[in-house]
C-alpha cells in the first residue's frame, strides 16, 4: 500500500456490491480482452517512501555540475530567490488547486493572477498581459502565430543573435504553421542590422538584452515595420533598469520569466511572459484574470475573455494552451512583491556592476577581449586564442561558463559567454580571473 489509496477490502466489497459486481476485474470488462492480455508489467516492486527518497537523493547528487559556480547563463540565470517565495508556493490551497474554473472558490489564484498581470504590464510597459505561457520560447512562438493571424504575413524576421534554444523551438512551431524565418545579421557591436522589411513580413523579433548580453536600441523599429508586429523577447529582470519595450511601440513583449523567483530547475518548469496592446487583446492566447463584482457588489476576480480559448472556440481558438505555468507565475509575483521597485533595481545594479567589473578585469588579461563592442547587461562574450582551453581551465577551477560551441549557434565564433548575477561574490570573481591567468594566452 502506497498510503495514497484508502480503499480497504471491506470498502471495495461494499462499493462493488452497489455497482452490482463481484469480481473487481469485471470493472475492466469493456476493454478488449486481447488488449488486457498483452499488458506487460514494468517489473517494478512497490517501494517504501524512504527508499524512494534515498534513490532520488542519490540521483540528485550524481550530477557533478551542481557544485560548479554558475557564471553560466544563456537564458537561465542563477539569481537569488528569497525564502518567502517557496513558502508561499508551498501553501497547499495554492499549489493543489487547478485552473480557477469556479471563481468563488478560486479567489486566491485569480487575485494573484491579477497582481501578476499588473506587474508584467508595469515591467514591459504594455497594456495587457496573460497569466503565463509554458516558457519564453513557446511564448515567442505564440506571439509570432498571433502576428501571422493578425497581419496575414508569413515571413518572420529573426536576428541571428536570438537565443539558439528559443530559436529552435520557434522554428518547430513556424514549420508547423507554414511560416518562414528570415535571418537578420548583427554588427560588430552585437546589435541588429535591419536593412529592409520585405513584403509579407508579419513580425520582427528583437531580443533585449540579446543572447550575447548586448543591449539593443529599439527606437525607430516599429515605425519601419508598419502593420507588421514588433515582438520583443526580454529578460524581464533587465526591465528593472531598461526602458520598457512598450515605450518603443512593441506589439507584443514576451520573455523567459525564470529569473523572477524561479530556480534553474534543469530548464523546467519555466515561465513564459506574454504582454500585448489592448487592440490585440482578443487575439492574445492564454488565461486572463479580470476584475468584477459579486452579487453584493464586492470586488472579486474571474477568468475573463474565455471565448478566445480552446475549450469554447475549439479549432478557432487563439491557441491550444490550457495548463500553463501558473505556479512559476506566482513565484514571480511574490518575488517582485518582496523586492519592490527598489529591490528589483538593486538586484539589477548589483548584477550590472559585477558583470562590468569582471569584464574589465578579463579584458585586461593579455590575449583576452570582449568579442562585441556594444553596451551589455549582465552577460558578455569573451574572445581569446584558445576559448576551448580557457573554458576547460575554468572548469578545473570549479567554474561553469557557456562554451564556444553553444555561442557559435547564434553566429559568433571563437568566444565563450559569461553571465554574472548579484549572487556572484567578490571571491568568485577573483577566482574566475585567476583561473584564466593560469597561462591560457
Amino acid at each position: 500500500m502506497s498510503g495514497y489509496i484508502p480503499h480497504t477490502p471491506p470498502d471495495i466489497r461494499a462499493m462493488l456490491q452497489e455497482v452490482g459486481l463481484r469480481d473487481p476485474e469485471a470493472l475492466f470488462g469493456d476493454i478488449p480482452e486481447e488488449v488486457r492480455r498483452r499488458y506487460r508489467p514494468l517489473g517494478l516492486p512497490p517501494r517504501d517512501e524512504d527508499w524512494v527518497r534515498r534513490h532520488l537523493t542519490e540521483l540528485s547528487e550524481k550530477s557533478t555540475g551542481r557544485k560548479l559556480i554558475p557564471f553560466l547563463g544563456g537564458g537561465i540565470y542563477d539569481h537569488f530567490v528569497p525564502a518567502v517565495v517557496d513558502y508561499v508556493l508551498s501553501q497547499p490551497e495554492l499549489y493543489t488547486a487547478y485552473t480557477p474554473y469556479q471563481a468563488e472558490v478560486s479567489q486566491g489564484t485569480l487575485t494573484w493572477m491579477f497582481e501578476y498581470q499588473t506587474m508584467v504590464c508595469e515591467l514591459t510597459g504594455m497594456e495587457v498581459a496573460n497569466a503565463s505561457m509554458y516558457d519564453g520560447a513557446t511564448a515567442l512562438a505564440e506571439a509570432v502565430l498571433m502576428a501571422h493571424r493578425t497581419t496575414g504575413g508569413k515571413q518572420v524576421l529573426v536576428p541571428q543573435y536570438l537565443n539558439p534554444r528559443v530559436r529552435e523551438v520557434l522554428a518547430t512551431y513556424a514549420w508547423g504553421a507554414g511560416l518562414e524565418l528570415v535571418d537578420l545579421p548583427f554588427d560588430e557591436e552585437g546589435r541588429l542590422v535591419l536593412s529592409e522589411v520585405p513584403e509579407g513580413t508579419c513580425a520582427l523579433i528583437v531580443q533585449q538584452p540579446n543572447f550575447f548580453g548586448i543591449i539593443e536600441d529599439l527606437s525607430g523599429l516599429k515605425e519601419r515595420l508598419g502593420e507588421a508586429f514588433l515582438i520583443v523577447y526580454v529578460n524581464p529582470i533587465a526591465l528593472g533598469v531598461l526602458e520598457p519595450p512598450g515605450s518603443f511601440g512593441a506589439d507584443v513583449v514576451v520573455g523567459e520569466g525564470q529569473v523572477l523567483g524561479n530556480p534553474p530547475s534543469f530548464g523546467g518548469p519555466l515561465l513564459g511572459i506574454f504582454a500585448t496592446r489592448e487592440k490585440h487583446l482578443r487575439r492574445m492566447p492564454g488565461r486572463i484574470s479580470g476584475q468584477t463584482v459579486d452579487a453584493e457588489g464586492k470586488i472579486g476576480y474571474v477568468m475573463a475573455l474565455q471565448t478566445r480559448e480552446q475549450h469554447i472556440r475549439r479549432e478557432r481558438a487563439t491557441s491550444n494552451i490550457c495548463t500553463n505555468s501558473a505556479l512559476c507565475a506566482l513565484a514571480a509575483t511574490v518575488y517582485l512583491a518582496a523586492l519592490g521597485p527598489e529591490g528589483l533595481k538593486r538586484v539589477v545594479l548589483l548584477s550590472l556592476a559585477r558583470a562590468h567589473r569582471l569584464a574589465e578585469e578579463i579584458s585586461a588579461l593579455p590575449g583576452f577581449d570582449l568579442a562585441l563592442t556594444g553596451p551589455f547587461f549582465n552577460e558578455f562574450p569573451v574572445r581569446c586564442p584558445d576559448p576551448g582551453g580557457a573554458v576547460k581551465k575554468l572548469r578545473e577551477a570549479g567554474i561553469a561558463v557557456l562554451p564556444p560551441e553553444e555561442v557559435e549557434k547564434a553566429g559568433l565564433a571563437g568566444a565563450f559567454l559569461v553571465a554574472v548575477t548579484e549572487r556572484r561574490s567578490e571571491e568568485e570573481l577573483s577566482r574566475f580571473v585567476s583561473a584564466l591567468k593560469g597561462g591560457t594566452s
Partner: protein, 127 residues
C-alpha cells in the same frame, strides 16, 4: 414572440427588407440561448459577402455565436452601438440590437429564407 413581417434563417438570424437592402440581427431565441451578450464582432463596412459567409460573432461569457450573411451582398452599415453596449442584442434583438445592413446582390435569394411560420416550427414557438 416571432415578428411576422421578418424573414429568418436556420442559423437563427432575422432579415428585414428595406428598399434593396436588408437589416440583419439574431433572433430572440438565439440571444436567449447564448445568455448575456458581452461582445459583438462587427463586419467591416464595404465588405462583400457571399450568402453563408461568416460576417461576425456574438459572444456571451461562455459561448460564441456566429453570424453569417443570410443573402449575398455588400455590408453598408454595421451597428457600432454594439461595440460599447453589446447587451442591446439581449434587450432588443429585433430593434436596437440589429447587427449589420447588406445591400442585396440578388433579391431572388430572399425567397430562400424562412417566413415567420417556418421559423416558428424550427424553434417550437420560442423565437
Amino acid at each position: 414572440m416571432i415578428p411576422q413581417e421578418l424573414k429568418y434563417t436556420k442559423d437563427h438570424e432575422w432579415v428585414k427588407e428595406e428598399d434593396g437592402k436588408v437589416r440583419v440581427g439574431i433572433t430572440h431565441h438565439a440571444q436567449k440561448e447564448l445568455g448575456d451578450i458581452v461582445f459583438v464582432e462587427l463586419p467591416e463596412v464595404g465588405k462583400v459577402a457571399k450568402k453563408g459567409e461568416l460576417l461576425g460573432t456574438v459572444e456571451s461569457v461562455k459561448a460564441v455565436g456566429e453570424v453569417y450573411a443570410p443573402v449575398s451582398g455588400e455590408v453598408v452599415e454595421a451597428n457600432s452601438a454594439l461595440e460599447s453596449t453589446p447587451e442591446l442584442v439581449n434587450k432588443d434583438p429585433y430593434g436596437e440590437g440589429w447587427i449589420f445592413v447588406l445591400k442585396l446582390a440578388d433579391p431572388a435569394e430572399l425567397e430562400e429564407l424562412l417566413d415567420a411560420a417556418g421559423y416558428e416550427s424550427l424553434v417550437g414557438g420560442q423565437g
